[in-house]
Amino acid sequence: QAGNLALDLPSYLRTNSIKKRECSLHPFRVSFQQLGWDHWIIAPHSYQPQYCKGNCPRILHFGYHSPNHAIIQNFINELVDKSVPPPSCVPYEYSPISILMMEQNGTILYKVYEDMIAKSCTCR
């Protein structure tokens, strides 16, 4: 049965009707003032974490970099048990952010925080 789904892959990839709601990266910006952190973060003024949103497709193609487990879980949801949820749309790659801030004693600190900005999405 799972094989039948795979055979359907070429035609599935050609249909773009639901592409708009598919899992993808969305832009989003928040200021440190909104987060209530502007009294100690000197730079930057705003932060663009981005976010992932959308439905994961019935057949997870390679572009989503989904692990094997996610593909199997998708099959289980589709063919075996609806109570098992389909994979979720989550960030796949991240990039860091550089922050200039003040510490409690007045020291100025430059620090790179890893994995702060979503760069791409995956279904897993």
Binding site: W37, W40, F62, S98, L109, K111, V112
Partner: protein, 259 residues
């Protein structure tokens, strides 16, 4: 739309590693308005902002062509300061700096003492120098000595360039085993400035000592803050997330085998 969420409001979530780190660093918001900004100002702030802009864009994204070898740079200002009398034309201060390095989580890669060699103030032009002192007996460890300012060998254009920063590399003096053995993370520095903006012997405008005194040298500690250190600081592995993170670091996603 979400309302402002203070760090304090998140204090009930100790298992969130980033929040835990932020709680440890962020000054309380209850200070009088603007005080935090006043703490970080002047030359140190300008220096760090310049450094920041050179390595990151206005959104904080690291510039591709300019990467630092470390992920943390801490600017340390002196916590103690004493005027040293009787140094000829030089006005001399002894400064103490607290390193506050946590060896278990921070790896010191490089350390520099930053000072402005020439100061262009409203009171005139000043020549400054600095030297590192031995921690115990206050003997100079660097080769600098306080001789007469060489006014004649400097031309006017040299002084017209503002903020002629000098970075004195202290790495050889700040190896961890040195300050660990001394059981002290305090560094002693001598800072000296002389008035050279007018023909030698003239008297600068009143208040120049205070103005020069505002431009103390500062330390730059180039550190690598490790993820392992972060987990250690948080009290070990608790939620099961850490092993995943460690595994991910050992084998980055880019090297996964094709399915």
């Amino acid at each position: 739309q979400v309302g402002p969420a203070s760090v304090g409001a998140l204090s009930g979530a100790p298992s969130l590693p980033l929040i835990q780190v932020l709680l440890g660093k962020a000054p309380p918001k209850t200070r009088p308005q603007g005080r935090n900004r006043r703490i970080a100002r002047g030359q140190p702030l300008r220096y760090m902002l310049n450094l920041y802009r050179s390595v990151a864009d206005r959104h904080g994204r690291p510039r591709r062509n300019r990467k630092l070898a470390t992920n943390t740079i801490r600017l340390v200002k002196p916590f103690a300061k004493a005027r040293q009398p009787g140094a000829g034309p030089w006005l001399v201060w002894n400064l103490d700096y607290r390193l506050e390095i946590q060896p278990q989580v921070e790896h010191l890669v490089r350390a520099t003492l930053v000072y402005s060699q020439t100061l262009s103030l409203a009171q005139g032009e000043f020549l400054c120098t600095a030297e590192l002192l031995s921690s115990k007996d206050a003997i100079p460890r660097t080769t600098l000595s306080l001789t007469s300012p060489r006014v004649g060998k400097r031309n006017a254009t040299a002084f017209s360039t503002k903020d002629s920063w000098v970075e004195m590399d202290l790495s050889t003096y700040l190896q961890p085993w040195v300050w660990a053995a001394q059981n002290s993370q305090v560094l002693h520095v001598r800072h000296a400035c002389a008035y050279v903006g007018q023909p030698w012997g003239s008297i600068p405008d009143p208040g120049w000592e205070d103005a020069v005194s505002l431009n103390d040298p500062f330390l730059l500690l180039y550190l690598n803050d490790t993820l392992g250190g972060l987990w250690t600081r948080l009290g070990g592995l608790g939620s099961g997330e850490a092993p995943f993170e460690e595994k991910r670091l050992r084998r980055p996603v880019q090297t996964r085998q094709a399915r």
